[in-house]
């Protein structure tokens, strides 16, 4: 019996794609290896070889507001950590605020009240078409810094709103400076307001798109069953709309986290701001930028992972 004709390897349909991919992969590896070895060699020649030992040196600069205890004698890594915690604080508060405001405005687009509908439209068009940086400068310099300070501050029982911030729990004016048990600075306030207002406009559009994706028959059917509009929204429409909304929210949440680095525009000491001072003092540009890149990447991947979890939870469960 004659042996079946063997296909030569260069015409093997299963082998060729593997070969091509292998060669391409190898080329990429070689290029990357070349670039990295070059970087290391040049950095070594310049005496700037990547090192993280400077992180243990005392930072020497102060951070204006921290949740963790911090002073200028602590090492750089503590300063960066304090900055990271400040970033996380504003991102977390921003996510909650933007979601609530965005959902309200998105749903308002379906209101039977014409004025509310138009207001929601105007809000979205106005806010999303102005750069965030300008909005932050506006909130900080025009709105928050125009608050009265000192004795003229807005005082309510247990709450004081002054030029320097919002004070809660028996605020007192000591030596011309307000002191309270809890304090939110105007820098934090301006950044949070800017991020919430800006991101809410985008979230509103995502929510509107999600709600619009639910067939009108569902509204009609629900009404014919005697449910009120609010009940319809809550029990019929939103559960279905969430499947469309959640993936869209994910990218808005990530933008919010990244946009928080605009904090320097309004004097809030976030990770970027601390990193900038660190870079300037140590001259460790490459390491500091790598730390920055890594931190924002991790924050965004965490948000993504969380939202993917939420997504699989709201998807249709087929039984």
């Amino acid at each position: 019996m004659a042996t079946p004709a063997v296909t030569p390897w260069w015409r093997n349909r299963r082998l060729i794609p593997w070969l091509v991919q292998g060669v391409a992969g190898l080329l990429v590896l070689v290029v990357v290896a070349f670039l990295v070895s070059n970087l290391v060699r040049n950095l070594t020649n310049a005496g700037l070889l990547l090192s993280l030992s400077w992180l243990r040196n005392p930072a020497g600069f102060d951070v204006s507001e921290t949740l963790l205890p911090y002073n200028a004698e602590l090492p750089y890594w503590r300063a960066l950590l304090a900055g990271l915690v400040n970033t996380l604080r504003v991102v977390l508060a921003g996510l909650i605020g933007a979601t609530v405001l965005g959902t309200l405005i998105g749903v308002a687009a379906f209101s039977s009240n014409g004025l509310l509908r138009r207001l929601a439209r105007v809000y979205v068009e106005l806010i999303r078409n102005i750069p965030l940086l300008l909005q932050l400068v506006f909130w900080y310099f025009v709105v928050f810094l125009d608050l009265p300070g000192g004795e003229q501050a807005i005082q309510l029982p247990g709450v004081v709103l002054a030029k320097s911030g919002l004070y809660l729990g028996k605020p007192e004016l000591i030596n011309d400076v307000w002191q309270g048990q809890m304090r939110l600075t105007v820098e934090f306030g301006a950044l949070l307001t800017g991020l919430v207002v800006y991101t809410a406009a985008f979230i509103a559009e995502v929510v509107r798109g999600g709600v619009a994706s639910v067939p009108p028959g569902q509204w009609e059917a629900s009404r014919s069953l005697g449910l009120t509009p609010l009940q319809t929204l809550q029990r019929i429409v939103l559960p279905q709309a969430l499947r469309v909304i959640v993936p869209g929210l994910n990218s808005q949440y990530i933008s919010l986290a990244k946009n928080s680095s605009l904090a320097v525009a309004c004097g809030y000491t976030d990770l970027y701001s601390v990193a900038e001072t660190t870079l300037n003092q140590t001259g460790r540009a490459v390491e500091v930028v790598l730390i920055l890149l890594g931190s924002y990447l991790v924050i965004d991947l965490l948000i993504s992972a969380l939202m993917n979890g939420v997504n699989s939870w709201v998807q249709i469960k087929e039984r």
């Binding site: 070059n38 970087l39 004698e73 105007v186 320097v264 490459v286």
Partner: protein, 353 residues
């Protein structure tokens, strides 16, 4: 502004990429930078851009100031024309990255000369002669009744981020045990805007800068400098490390301006002095200085008459000082430490020999 921020973030990366890109360059040629400037026919000079007296954009779009005049003198010395300068406005955190990545040839932007900026293990920069001896000060509104640093305990102080002032302030306040809240801003505009809005009780920076900024306040007389001087701030032009040829050209152009003042050579009488030097072979010192004889220019890779060109650009050091920040300006700063050494100051040019 968004662009600037991106730049600030990208610049270190670009610097890293530049290092990636050119493995085996450098060496061989006498000075890459100097040749680069000559072949480009233009000097790229990094300045602050918003600081009256040092670098400021005039209503007609041209730049003026002490830092700017240094750029002009270097352009005149290397290219024979003080106007062949392209200015780049840089904020304090972009400046070194812009220099390292080659975006600018010379950084003339009220930069303090420090060890960590000079050392190869730090920023690895190369400093030219100091053109302005300054010190850090603190400014507060007169109405606030603040008379010394101690009065600032517990109060917010505005600082520009990424400057030596930030560290000096932290050190000094720790020393006098006065806790305070630093409010950091990325640009000087933001810093002074927050101060004028009353968010901080005081603002800290170099004393010259405070005096300069005060001239543009709505009520300059309503703000006072506190008596304390927090630091030594020798403001110095900077070039990139690893190009001694270019660093020398810049260094000796600046020394030429100082030496010219010492010799009584001004923008007005420079032509007469050249004629005098040419006519009188006995004035060997003057002849060498002005390039009538000898090869000082050639040794630096500059034209023989580089001193003449530099002085013609804006005058000698004293003229630069008086016109931009001294009695001939709005700032009206005293010369103080910036007098010639012969008048008890620190301005001292090594001999042109």
């Amino acid at each position: 502004m968004v662009r600037l921020r991106k730049l600030a973030l990208c610049a270190p990366l670009l610097a890293a990429l530049a290092l990636v890109g050119c493995a085996s360059e450098g060496g061989g040629i006498q000075s890459q930078k100097l040749n680069g400037v000559k072949s480009r026919g233009k000097l790229l000079c990094g300045v602050e851009g918003k600081l009256p007296g040092f670098s400021f954009v005039n209503p007609d779009g041209s730049y003026s100031g002490l830092d700017v005049d240094v750029c002009r003198a270097v352009a005149a010395a290397t290219l024979g024309d003080p106007n062949k300068v392209e200015y780049r406005d840089l904020n304090s955190s972009e400046r070194f990255a812009a220099l390292a990545s080659g975006e600018i040839d010379l950084l003339s932007r009220n930069t303090t000369y420090t060890l960590s900026r000079d050392a190869s293990g730090g920023n690895g920069l190369s400093f030219a002669p100091t053109v302005f001896y300054d010190g850090q000060g603190v400014m507060a509104p007169k109405a606030a009744g603040i008379n010394s640093l101690k009065d600032l305990a517990g109060k917010p102080i505005c600082v520009e981020s990424g400057t030596t002032t930030e560290l000096n302030l932290a050190d000094r306040m720790r020393q006098i045990k006065a806790p305070y809240t630093p409010l950091k801003f990325q640009t000087s505009d933001q810093t002074y805007a927050a101060y004028l809005q009353g968010r901080c009780v005081a603002v800290t920076s170099d004393r010259s800068q405070l005096a300069a900024k005060r001239t543009s306040f709505p009520d300059p007389a309503g703000h006072v400098l506190l008596p304390e001087v927090l630091s030594k701030e020798p403001l110095t032009p900077v070039t990139v490390n690893g190009d001694p040829g270019w660093a020398d050209a810049v260094r000796w152009t600046i020394y030429a301006l100082m030496q010219a003042e010492e010799l009584g050579i001004t923008q007005a009488n420079i032509d007469a002095k050249v004629a005098e030097a040419k006519a009188n072979p006995n004035q060997a010192d003057l002849r060498r200085f002005l390039g009538v004889e000898g090869d000082f220019g050639k040794q630096l890779g500059l034209p023989a008459d580089f001193v003449v060109q530099a002085v013609k650009a804006g005058g000698n050091y004293g003229e630069l000082f008086e016109r931009n920040v001294g009695q001939g300006s709005k700032l009206k700063l005293e010369r103080g430490l910036n007098h010639q050494w012969s008048d008890g100051g620190l301005i001292y040019s090594p001999p042109f020999r």
